[in-house]
Symmetry: C2
Subunit: 93 residues, 2 copies
DNA sequence: ACAAAAAGTCACCGATCGTTTACATTTCGC
DNA sequence: GCGAAATGTAAACGATCGGTGACTTTTTGT
């Protein structure tokens, strides 16, 4: 599942939590937050703390992967010419 | 890049920002936060707001994808028997 | 239908967020 | 080596987080 908004994140967490047959209380305890926090996250609370969110995902055995959104314009030279030239000028190989 | 900690997130953001040749000020303005916020996020601040983080990633054209961390134990029945049986009993198809 | 479990709501509170403005330090081109 | 641009620090401040505990509503099992 792609996550672009807090609501997306909430949905992912809730789905996975239920898949694992955990109730909010058990889940909250597992990640060390209050039950209130779980309720709010699943609701899509946009101001939740990053660290707690990552702990939650970890507890659900979920891992985030960041990738460029651009469909498939892949190929456009994996090398950054500018950067290489700049370094060359500096003599840094 | 897999993101498991706030520091991972910070690294991903910083790398991508530089790839895009944006300075902190420009980046901050683009996502509507203070420059300080950018500095802290790139440092791995664990209590950053989820919403702002998502806006930042979006501005960098990065998308998060949540996947189960378990290497490849894929296969274990994609169907949740219990859930299906439960629903059947309730008559919900 | 009923009781129990799970989920959601409320008010209060200390802690910390993110903003702003100004200054300090580091990095870069030339 | 200079000067400018980029990056990092600091202090003050209003706003909001997340925790707790008690209560209400919804869902679930039988």
């Amino acid at each position: 599942m792609k996550i672009r908004t807090p609501a997306d994140l909430g949905a992912v967490i809730r789905d996975r939590r239920q898949q694992l047959k955990l109730d909010q209380a058990g889940f909250a305890e597992k990640i060390g937050v209050s039950r209130k926090w779980v309720i709010e996250i699943e609701r899509g609370h946009p101001r939740a703390e990053l660290g707690l969110v990552l702990r939650a995902l970890d507890a659900l055995d979920l891992v985030l992967d960041a990738g460029t959104g651009t469909a498939r314009p892949r190929k456009a030279s994996a090398v950054d010419i500018d950067a290489i030239v700049a370094k060359a000028k500096k003599g840094k190989t």
